[in-house]
Structures are given as structure tokens and as C-alpha cells.
């Protein structure tokens, strides 16, 4: 495990948990990102929506962090075809399954929701299987 970063991972994860707790305390809402994106896309015209502010804040803090703290930008590349196929699957799947990593694996699991536990096991399992097939059987490295 060359790149294992347990401390920053646990600290960052705690901030995510704190954010979800605050959103529940203040707005009474679940911090599910796929649901927020769908909500913003389907919003009526001229309605001011907290979801848009949440997503804007999320992008803003990540952009500022990379500007302020040097050498934190990740180095990776992906083929455009793979990005498009993957994006469509993630968009479609999270709507059909009512949530993604944040809504099911964090918020739902913290409430011990059986639906979220089942969804998390399913998408984790499928993702591990997909990586195994693409990397080790087909030999595609992303």
C-alpha cells in the first residue's frame, strides 16, 4: 500500500460527516449529491434553491483549496469515450437507485437504512468487479 493516507482520509471523511450532520440540523435534508444535481436540473425557473448553493460551495471550496495549497492537484487521465459511458451510467443508475456514495453509503448507512446498506453493498461489489474485469482480465489501465 504505497499511497495509503489513513489520517487525511479519516479527517476528510469526518468533515464530510460534519457537513451532512449540519445540513440535517439546519435544513433537515439528506446530503445526497446525485439527488441535489437532479433537483437543480429539474428545478422550476427563478426558484432559489439551497441545493444550487450546496453544489456551488462544494465546487468553490475544492477550487480554492487547489489554488491556496500548492501541489495538491491530482494527476490522472481518462479516455473521453470511457468518461462519457461512465458518466451516463452513473447519472442513470443513481436516479434509478435513488442515491450515490453520499446519499446511500454515508447518510443512509449512518441511519442504518436497509435500502442504503443493500445499495452500498451492491454498488461497491459491482465497482470492484468492474475494476477487476477492466484491469486484470481485459488489461485496460485507466
Amino acid at each position: 500500500m504505497q499511497n495509503f493516507t489513513p489520517y487525511s482520509a479519516f479527517f476528510g471523511g469526518s468533515l464530510i460527516g460534519l457537513s451532512a450532520a449540519l445540513l440535517l440540523y439546519l435544513n433537515g435534508r439528506v446530503a445526497g449529491i446525485s439527488g441535489m444535481i437532479a433537483g437543480v436540473m429539474n428545478a422550476q425557473k427563478n426558484t432559489q434553491d439551497w441545493r444550487l448553493f450546496f453544489l456551488g460551495g462544494l465546487i468553490l471550496s475544492a477550487v480554492l483549496f487547489n489554488l491556496i495549497v500548492p501541489h495538491t492537484q491530482a494527476v490522472y487521465s481518462r479516455s473521453f469515450l470511457l468518461l462519457i459511458i461512465s458518466g451516463i451510467l452513473v447519472g442513470f443508475g443513481t436516479r434509478l437507485g435513488n442515491g450515490c456514495t453520499s446519499g446511500h453509503a454515508v447518510c443512509g448507512m449512518a441511519r442504518l437504512s436497509i435500502r442504503s446498506i443493500a445499495a452500498t453493498i451492491t454498488f461497491m461489489g459491482m465497482a470492484i468487479l468492474t475494476v477487476f474485469i477492466t484491469r486484470h482480465l481485459l488489461g485496460i489501465s485507466q
Partner: protein
């Protein structure tokens, strides 16, 4: 207005959490999902931090009658059954997640990388959601 400020503040915290934990780096996510490769357990520590913090605070928050800025808590009903849509949706999401390593929150926090990948993925993600709406209405 207060709900929007609350949303902005929570979004900033969420983005900071994703950035500090490097979950906005799809290579790091795939290194967790690749159990046969050089396994990186970091994502499990992110989950542990998030779940412990949220479960603890939530225990006190849900004892309140209502949230601070709204009339009621908006939570899914606790006893909704597991159905085909949930499992099929999670399977499709899992395949997409494993192909690239981006999930909806992480990809937005990757906008600061100054690369084209997060934008392209987000456009496709929006298209996938529109496709679902169309598909769902047609049924």
C-alpha cells in the same frame, strides 16, 4: 435565504472533506476498488470518519422536533422495502463508478484540477439523469 446560506456552508465543508481525503482523485478511488492490485484502503477510512461523525451528531439532532431553518426533517421513510429499481440502479451506478472512479460528489470536487475530464464526466452524468427521466416517464 437562511437555507441557502446553510447549503453554501455545508457544501464548502463537504468539498473540503472530499479534497483533503483526496476522494476527488479517481486514481485513488480505483486503487481502493482494485483489490487485486496495490490496494489503498484510504476510502474505507473516509467512510469510517464520515459515518462515526454523522451517526454521533445525528443521534442528538434527530431528538429535536424540527431542523433550525425548516418546518420538518425530510428523511426517507425508514421501512421502505428493497426493490428491483434500487438494486438495478445500484448495479448500473457501480459499473459506471468502477470504469472511471468518479462519483457525483467527487467529480464536482475535481473541478479544481484544471482538467477537462471532470467537466466531460459531469455533462455525461447530466445526460444520464435526463435519459432516466425520459425513460421513467415513457414507462
Amino acid at each position: 435565504m437562511t437555507k441557502n446560506i446553510a447549503g453554501l456552508f455545508c457544501g464548502i465543508l463537504f468539498g473540503l472533506g472530499l479534497t483533503i481525503s483526496q476522494m476527488n482523485n479517481p486514481d485513488k478511488v480505483l486503487a481502493f476498488l482494485d483489490v487485486r492490485g496495490e490496494w489503498d484502503a484510504s476510502l474505507a477510512f473516509v467512510m469510517a470518519g464520515a459515518l462515526i461523525t454523522l451517526a454521533t451528531l445525528q443521534h442528538f439532532i434527530l431528538k429535536r422536533q424540527k431542523p433550525l431553518c425548516d418546518a420538518e426533517f425530510h428523511l426517507p421513510k425508514p421501512n421502505n422495502p428493497i426493490d428491483k429499481r434500487l438494486i438495478l440502479g445500484a448495479m448500473i451506478f457501480g459499473i459506471g463508478w468502477g470504469l472511471v472512479g468518479f462519483c457525483p460528489g467527487a467529480v464536482l470536487a475535481a473541478f479544481g484540477d484544471g482538467k477537462i475530464e471532470p467537466f466531460l464526466f459531469t455533462l455525461a452524468l447530466g445526460a444520464g439523469m435526463m435519459l432516466f427521466d425520459w425513460f421513467d416517464k415513457a414507462k
